[in-house]
């Protein structure tokens, strides 16, 4: 084989790789678009009027996740599944955003922490790497931490909207999350950095609860509800 033949042959490899990346990039762009649409729907919960509409908004989001699943299904066809990590960087960012959105919608519906399994199911992907396109544990955790910071905003805005009991529930939830994270031996930098931000969210929510309790607002509303 001459040098020229050898290089023509190599060019084949390189072109194929570039084509794959190009394909992936395109699908990822559509995913990002859908993720942004979901975000826009969910962000309305921060508006005073948005609190009553949580159920309808969640329903709307659940529908949009159908689109996400279709798009991810499309993504899966673009590369051999065993090479997940070769192209990981392309979808890592959007996958974390989607994990956050799934976690947020589940929280709004049930006030519970979404499991990795649930996120995987919502996105139509796997938990175990061997079974196919999956959700890396780091990406799941990153999504959860993004939600934590959204929840601290929600605690503040709940009060503005006159809902004085939600912050207490958020506070308990976030504290539990914090304990969970303290079990982890985080090394990898971006996750560690995000986790450091959680401390501020915890503190912020505690101050909201404080403001409510010193004015007797939390209890007041609770007993009003009880009656």
């Amino acid at each position: 084989m001459s040098v020229t033949e050898m290089f023509s042959y190599i060019q084949g490899f390189l072109s194929a790789d570039q084509d794959v990346r190009e394909d992936i990039r395109k699908v990822v762009q559509t995913l990002e678009q859908t993720a942004r649409e979901i975000l826009t729907v969910l962000q309305s919960v921060h508006q005073p009027s948005g609190f009553k509409e949580i159920p309808s908004k969640c329903a709307k989001v659940r529908e949009l996740f159908c689109t996400v699943r279709t798009q991810i299904a499309d993504l899966k066809t673009k590369f051999p599944m065993e090479q997940y990590y070769r192209f990981h960087e392309h979808w890592r960012f959007v996958l974390q955003r989607l994990a956050f959105l799934a976690a947020f919608v589940v929280y709004l519906e049930s006030e519970a922490l979404v499991t990795r399994e649930e996120v995987a199911q919502i996105l139509g992907i796997e938990v175990v790497r061997e079974k196919g396109f999956h959700l890396d544990v780091e990406d799941y955790l990153a999504g959860v931490l993004i939600m934590a910071s959204e929840l601290s905003r929600l605690a503040v805005n709940s009060v503005t909207a006159g809902d004085y009991t939600r912050p207490l529930r958020i506070s308990n939830f976030i504290n539990e999350l914090d304990s969970g994270f303290r079990l982890l031996n985080l090394k990898n930098d971006p996750l560690r950095k995000r986790y450091d931000g959680l401390k501020y969210d915890v503190k912020k929510i505690e101050e909201v609860v404080y403001d409510l309790s010193i004015r007797g607002l939390a209890k007041e509303q609770e007993s009003a509800v009880e009656k």
Binding site: R36, L39, H46, V159, T160, D211
Partner: protein
């Protein structure tokens, strides 16, 4: 004497060609420099207008200030007219980097004034509609066809977005000082408006120009400050029945009036 180059050597076609290049390049560079200078002027006057507008929240007759701001912005508009004059017949993107800081600051100022007057976001079209200039050349004006006397300047969507992104910082400042002035409506209005802008920007996300993504963080911070301010107002106001809230503020003003010694 042997001569290997230089002015004398103008018979060489290469040298002749390069003399043309020299002029073309110098002309372009000089124009660029003039635009940079105009942009700096636009920036400074726009900033001063913004400062002036912040005074509006603490005076009872804001009309005088709004009038003054309009006069200032008319001055800025004239400067932008000079920029447009420089760009006449040029591709504006060729010199964009020279004047983009000034134009962004102008968008910030003009949209701030517009918010104060109309409580809404000025659109790109409205801004551009104001940047139509009539050419006021002495004497030769009547010789020209009517179309040639009109000069327009088009703010790009990017510059508009970047200006609006900075506007949010000013709105945040305005919100905080409204609270400080005992104004309890403005903060809630502002928080809704800022949330809408924020949601708009996050809808655009990373599809916009790179500089916009960079400003998203600051925008989020500003929104957070405004939301916190509304929260604090709500929490404090919660301690008395709602209908008494306005009374409290007006009585407070009454309370401090005598001490101020003015009016």
């Amino acid at each position: 004497v042997q001569e290997r180059d230089g002015s004398a050597n103008s018979s060489s076609p290469v040298i002749a060609a390069f003399k043309v290049f020299q002029q073309e390049l110098d002309t372009k560079h000089d124009k660029y420099e003039r635009l940079v200078k105009l942009s700096r002027d636009v920036t400074i006057e726009s900033k001063r207008t913004i400062f002036l507008l912040h005074r509006v929240t603490s005076v009872t007759d804001p009309e005088a200030i709004l009038k003054e701001a309009e006069v200032k912005l008319e001055g800025v508009r004239q400067k932008i007219g000079q920029i447009a004059e420089e760009l006449r017949g040029e591709d504006i993107h060729q010199f964009h980097r020279a004047f983009t800081p000034g134009i962004q600051e102008f968008v910030e100022a003009v949209s701030f004034l517009h918010y104060i007057q109309h409580r809404s976001l000025i659109s790109l079209e409205e801004i551009n509609a104001r940047l139509v200039f009539m050419r006021a050349e002495k004497g030769s004006a009547e010789d020209l066809p009517p179309g040639a006397q009109v000069l327009t300047f088009q703010v790009t969507p990017s510059d508009y977005l970047l200006g609006v992104a900075d506007l949010t910082g000013e709105l945040m400042r305005m919100c905080i000082s409204s609270v400080g002035n005992g104004d309890i409506d403005t903060p809630f209005q502002l928080s809704q408006f800022l949330r809408q802008i924020h949601d708009g920007f996050s809808f655009i996300g990373n599809t916009g120009p790179y500089e916009v993504s960079k400003k998203l963080h600051t925008l989020r911070q500003s929104l957070g400050k405004v939301e916190d301010a509304c929260y604090a107002l709500k929490v404090r106001g919660s301690e008395i029945p709602k209908h008494m809230l306005a009374d409290v503020f007006s009585s407070r003003s009454a309370l401090i009036d005598p001490e101020e010694g003015v009016i």
